[in-house]
Symmetry: C2
Subunit: 363 residues, 2 copies
């Protein structure tokens, strides 16, 4: 039997440093738990552009399609701001999502007990928070045509198209209902059906899919009210399902509620491959943080937790994922803190690799 394959794309900014810590963890699981991966590494984003003139080389795309799972660091940086839209670092990431057809983006917003004080929200509002946002990731205004900047009379007009087919909505809704079944059986769907026809179709299809999940309590909310309610009392939610653009804003908002962005992983899942595993890409929610790149200040936990999600969702190793998550909780409870986690209550400052080592030790 061959080992499952992992393609690692560290990307830009702090991507490579946090990924170096993930490599240590992967090695540990190989050596100590007999969970061995065939790991290969390649470029994405600005790093790929610098070498190939494109943010994702076709060879890399092919490797990603063939891999059992892809682990990505982060893309982007001010150096690339001047580039044409078509070769910006983000396009590499968007191409991966689109061509691998990773339609279901799972973004947990979880508040770690040891870090509840970091939130800008009151402690009772966020302590114990554990919600999951399921964001549609391969359609909507991110990919709809027509798009572009066109000449019209004597001025220019910027156009993008929000576009959802019934089947696109149904498949992401189904993945959200499945998740809700394994959690608290509550699903809230968010759109702007009061203003957008695409939202009307969204609501209709989600309701229809819900008939297959009578145990799940389904509710609907306008996305603006959703933003409010997430801010007011986020614990009212269990699973939220929403489209690509609303999901972009709402999941970032939800992530910030926890106060510890450097802690949040994500999984982007597609249809099952021949071997039964879903197409999958895992990445931290945080960006490339160019301002602190290369200084050993970055927090590797979001990226390590993304690997834990890979263990759970791609490799059916839920117990090993839980082992890794518990090690991280322990390290935090013991007071280890990267720069982003240093708060008024002190703690022991550690570097990026110091945090990786502490987690290894706790394992």
């Amino acid at each position: 039997m061959t080992n499952p394959s992992l393609l690692i794309l560290p990307g830009d900014g702090i991507g490579p440093e946090v990924m170096a810590e993930v490599r240590k963890i992967i090695d540990w699981f190989g050596a100590k738990r007999g969970i061995v991966f065939d790991v290969s590494e390649d470029l994405v984003g600005g790093a790929a552009y610098d070498l190939h003139g494109t943010p994702l080389h076709d060879d890399t795309m092919a490797k990603a399609q063939a891999a059992d799972a892809v682990l990505l660091g982060a893309v982007g940086g001010p150096k690339y701001d001047v580039l044409d839209f078509s070769v910006k670092p983000e396009r590499g990431l968007l191409r991966l999502r689109k061509e691998m057809d990773l339609f279901s983006n799972l973004r947990p917003a979880q508040c770690f007990d040891a870090l509840a004080d970091f939130s800008s929200l009151k402690k009772d509002v966020v302590a114990g928070l554990d919600i999951m946002i399921v964001r549609e990731l391969t359609s909507g205004v991110y990919f709809g045509e027509p798009r572009g900047i066109f000449k019209e009379g004597n001025e220019r007009v910027g156009i993008n198209t929000q576009r959802y087919t019934e089947s696109e909505i149904a498949r992401v809704a189904r993945s959200a209902f499945e998740l809700a079944m394994r959690r608290d059986k509550k699903l809230c769907s968010m759109e702007k059906a009061n203003v957008m026809e695409s939202g009307i179709l969204w609501r209709e299809v989600v309701t229809e899919v819900g008939k297959d999940y009578p145990e799940v309590e389904l509710s609907h909310m306008y996305a603006d009210a959703g933003a409010m309610q997430l801010t007011r009392w986020p614990k009212q939610f269990d699973v939220i399902v929403t489209d690509n653009l609303f999901g972009d804003l709402l999941s970032d908002l939800a992530a910030m509620l926890t106060g510890s962005l450097g802690m949040l992983p994500s999984a982007s899942l597609g249809a099952p491959m021949a071997n039964g595993r879903p197409k999958a890409l895992y990445e931290p929610v945080h960006g490339s943080a160019p301002d602190i790149a290369g200084q050993g200040k970055a927090n590797p936990i979001a990226c390590i937790l993304s690997f834990a999600m890979a263990l759970r969702y791609s490799f059916d190793q839920g117990e090993e994922a839980a082992r890794l998550e518990a090690a991280i909780e322990k390290v935090l409870a013991d007071g280890a803190r990267t720069a982003d986690l240093m708060g008024p209550d002190g703690g022991t400052p550690v570097s990026t690799s110091g945090m990786g080592d502490a987690i290894l030790a706790a394992l």
Copy 2:
């Protein structure tokens, strides 16, 4: 000289009750300050649908076009959920915005000292908060064509179009820069230029308009990062300018930061009319709250503050507006609290009309 005209559209749910309190205030300004309006009243939303089968009768539209300012309560309610999209209460409001060409929607998010404890955010994060969101209100995905639900092969597809011309962006940007000049001279523009071409054009045009305002410090932020930063540390912002859909979410988020939604007014302004006054519609940020309608529980302050905005922006009565705002602050400081403002710290419970009377007394 004739008196300036005010068209009052109470609308649905709590709209009529809160508007009744505004009428008292309007009468007071006429009797005591010699600021007399020709007031007329008409229907909008579900109330208009019930009588005319349309959420905005053409006669009402004509009256709104002719009025010096329009004051609106709120529209919508569960009773109308079953209606076809084209006659939903919201369409009445959207028609007013579009046909009056009210492109600049001013949504202050202000935290009242007496109410800082109401926020779900920590007190130091929101105390003294005073930001202004300028939302484009007549274009973007709210109005772009093509739109609708279409048949495509054997499934349906929901389509909406995000669409901005240079001049549409320029005029709302200009109104935001003007506001920034009268405030702290800081403007942050939000879009998704990393993903949407309409966002690229937005950023370009805002930057161009900014050349006429060298004193204003202009920054740009992706809308998802904007949602995060509003949650993390909202006081970093002074004025924010953004498009119709992002503005819908971000202004609701900003409103919720203050913890007192029942307190927030808004102004929607268009081009100057022949008499020099801008086309204008004023309305509270809160909705029609059907669950508490008709029970004397609604907080009339947002609607009264909307009238204060009318005094300031339509009738050049900034001092009178400040007088009204000061009366409201005093009433709050004295402890008068509608149901939505009853918190752990007590206060004196008052009804909708009790709050109106208290404000009158303080004037």
